[in-house]
Every structure is written in C-alpha cells, then in structure tokens.
Symmetry: C2
C-alpha cells in the first residue's frame, strides 16, 4: 500500500495511491483512520513530505562501496573513522522538502552533492526494541536525497550546514508499506542519466539493526524518519539540474535544483 501526504485546494490530507489517483484517508494514519470514497488525480495534487517527522535520523557510510568512493574523493582518515562504528546522527527537520520541491544551493556552498537513500518511516513509539521486533515498529519505506555539502563545509566538524541547510532533505514521493527493505535497488539519475545503482542488500547495518540500535537510547516516534545511507557514488549538483532517486517497488523522488 502506498500512503501519500498531499495538499489540494489549500487543504492537506493523507491518501492511498492507486495507479494515477490518490484516495483520501480520513483520520490519523498512525492511529484510527479509514479510506473514504473521495479521490483526486495524482497530477492535480501537490505531494508533501510523507510525514511531519519529529526527528530525522541518519546512518552515514552504511555501504562498503560508498565508503570506498568517499575515501577516494574526500578525507580518507575521516571516512575510515566515521565508518568504524554504529554512529547515527540527526539531520535537521528544517531541511525536509517533498517531491518536486526545489533543492536550493546557498551561495556560501562551494560543493554540494546528492545521496540517494532508502528511508525508514517509523509507525509506533520504539524504545529498546530488538532487531527481531523492529519490523513491528516500522510503517513503511520511502526515498530520500541526503543532500550534502563538502568542500570548505566539511571542516565544520558539526554537520549543521553541510547536512542540514534548508531544502537539503528531500523525502518522498510516498510511503510504501509492503516491501522487503533489504532487497531493493536504488537508482540515482542526474538530468535523466543514470549515475548510480546499488542494492539495499549491501547495507552494513540493516534497517532492523538501525531501528533497534537508535532505540536503545532515543525513542523513535510515529512519523520519524531514518536515512539508511547512500549505496555508491555521488555527483555534484548545480543550478538547473534535476535529480531523481528511484527505488523500484516504492517510487521516484524527483527534485529540481536552483541557486538561492
């Protein structure tokens, strides 16, 4: 089942996506809700970020191929150190945008790249859950672009600007609830051309280990989002670019890029 958050005629709702239409859901998708008879053509609605996340967690360097790529491209010592343990971090919820929204490059950023990733959507409050129990606390999965500055910003040490500048967190287009998260392809296209293709089977910490690990210290709440890492190579973004993250079985998150 595909669950989308959308706005239409200045009004916001959740809906269930079927083909080229979205059927309105009444109520709270994390609690009591029901499917109504009302529906809209997808092309008439604006897709919003699929949840209002309280926290936007991330695991960096979660694929061996990505670690190797980053070691080659960036500060090898930092990459080796950061990939040597389970070390989640938080991307600011301020940076979350939806499908088709612009990624805006601040003039201060000399280098910004995309990172196409699978995202876990939390469905129930999770605290000290085991990896075996973790699936019961997950509502579904969606696509994200962990837009990241490097260059001079990588010297910030805190990730604040390079990872959490406004618009650096595109998420969507919707939540897929019925999918095996560890057997998915992640395809990243820049201006229509495929640049990277990886499989979630290559994760170092899989989705259930990640949810379990974070929940040992921090309660995950309904709607919270967890980035699971980029599988392979990354590419610089420039104004005028269009970047697409496709995860077959979920959907395609598309975002144009512009300067501020």
């Amino acid at each position: 089942m595909k669950l989308a958050r959308f706005s239409v005629n200045g009004w916001e709702s959740y809906g269930q996506v079927e083909g080229d239409r979205v059927q309105v859901i009444q109520g709270d998708i994390f609690g009591e809700h029901r499917l109504t008879d009302a529906s809209y053509p997808l092309e008439r609605v604006r897709l919003l970020p699929p949840t209002r996340a309280n926290t936007f967690w991330a695991i960096g360097l979660n694929y061996a191929a990505h670690v190797a790529h980053q070691e080659h491209a960036l500060d090898a010592e930092r990459i080796r150190r950061d990939s040597s343990a389970f070390r989640p971090w938080q991307k600011g919820t301020n940076c979350i945008i939806g499908h088709n929204d612009y990624i805006v490059l601040p003039p201060e950023a000399d280098y910004v790249h995309y990172e196409g990733e699978l995202v876990i959507v939390i469905g129930k409050p999770a605290r000290r859950v085991t990896p075996e129990d973790a699936p019961n606390f997950i509502l579904g999965y969606t696509c994200a672009n962990d837009v990241s500055g490097e260059g001079a910003w990588s010297k910030d040490l805190s990730n604040w600007r390079r990872k959490s500048s406004d618009t650096f967190g595109p998420v969507g287009p919707w939540i897929e609830t019925d999918v095996d998260p560890h057997n998915l392809e992640i395809i990243t296209r820049l201006n229509g051309r495929e640049h990277d293709r990886g499989s979630t089977s290559g994760m170092t910490y899989n989705c259930y280990a990640i949810v379990s690990g974070i929940s040992q210290f921090a309660t995950l709440r309904p709607g919270d989002l967890v980035l699971t890492g980029a599988p392979g190579s990354v590419e610089q973004l420039h104004p005028g670019d269009v970047v697409e993250i496709e995860i077959p079985g979920i959907g395609t998150l598309r975002n144009p890029v512009r300067g501020e």
Copy 2:
C-alpha cells in the same frame, strides 16, 4: 510575562504565570490568542516543556570559563578544535523533558554531567536575519540542562547518545518574554548546594549572533529552542540527585535523577 505550557486534569494548555497561579491562554501563543478568566494554582498543574520544538539547536563551548574547565577535564585538543568557530549542532527533540521530570541515566553511560544554560525560544520564522533584527524573532527565554555523557561515549564522535539520549534535555519551567538575555546569572545547584554561578554577559556568541548565524542556513520556526552554552564548571550526576538550574528573572528548572 511568563508563559507556561501545562497539563491539568488530562488537558493541555498555555497559561500566563502570575505569582502562584497560572491563568489559561486560549489560542496559539505564536499567533492569535487571548487571556481567559480561568486560572489554576501552580501547585495543581504539571508544567510541560514550554514548547513543542521542531528543532533543538545548541551552541557548545560558548563561554571562555567553560572551555577552560572542559580543556582541563576532558580531551583538550577536541575542546580547542570545537570551540574555534561558530559551530551549532542539534540535540534531538526526543530528549526534551519538563520541570520536575526525571533525568534517567542509561546503564551504558559511565559518566553523565549537567550543564545549566539559557535557552532562546523562537517566536517567528527566521531566515537570514541580522543580529540587529534577531530580537524581533525571539519570543523569550527559559532555562535548560544540556545533560551530557562523557567518558566512553565521547568517542562516539557523533553526539547521538551522549547528548540526545531520552531525558537528556530538561527545559523550563516557563518562557520569560521580558528580560535582557545578556545580563543574567545562571546558578546550578546539585542536591541544594550551589556548584556553579556564571553570567550570560560572558557569552562568546551572544543570543542575537546565534539566532542570526543559524538562520543563515536553517530556518528557525516558532517554538524552536536554542541552547546557548554552559557558563562554567560541570559535575557528574548520580541516581538520587536533584539538579536545579536557576536564572533569576526567569525561574528555576528542577529535575530529579534516577537510573533506568
């Protein structure tokens, strides 16, 4: 004016604190609202964290005396590096608790200390504001305890557990809207005994510089909270302790401590 968020009889509201009573506010304190005739004795209500923050920003090492104390106590090289630039970070909103709530020490933490701090409460969406304009985007100020693990956890590099474990972010007791934020004393007491006293006049980056600085890249939204740094020394917390952060002119944030 003192604005408190509270619950009473299973019902939540904002109110204005006057002496030992809280008068109910109807509406949204960040938008349309009015004071009603209803009021409760403060001792009958439960004070809640003063806002539902979307982001919980922090500036570390913002007082020379605290930098000196931490250099002495911890990894001097890390402290010097982290205090050498404007480097905000985010504490997870998952860790926010209110006045009188328990700080809970996870069994995995070998060392946890308090950090008494002044907190900025954002009142209006702020993006690319100047330090001169910053006061117009601030609703008021409150107290916080930036509870922090050190010891083995300081090797995490990411602050996730040591700064964002559940309950590591006490905030309150309420928001004071009429106060000069740069001429306040911060007094920290452990089990009734004063352990630290500092003045906000010693900030490296003052409140307006902090709000302006963060807003260059990340929009601050109504209710967002910004920790401004601990002024002096810190002390380890143990189960059974009671820690109080008093900022005369604002109020006293009190939290008991227990093991998990």
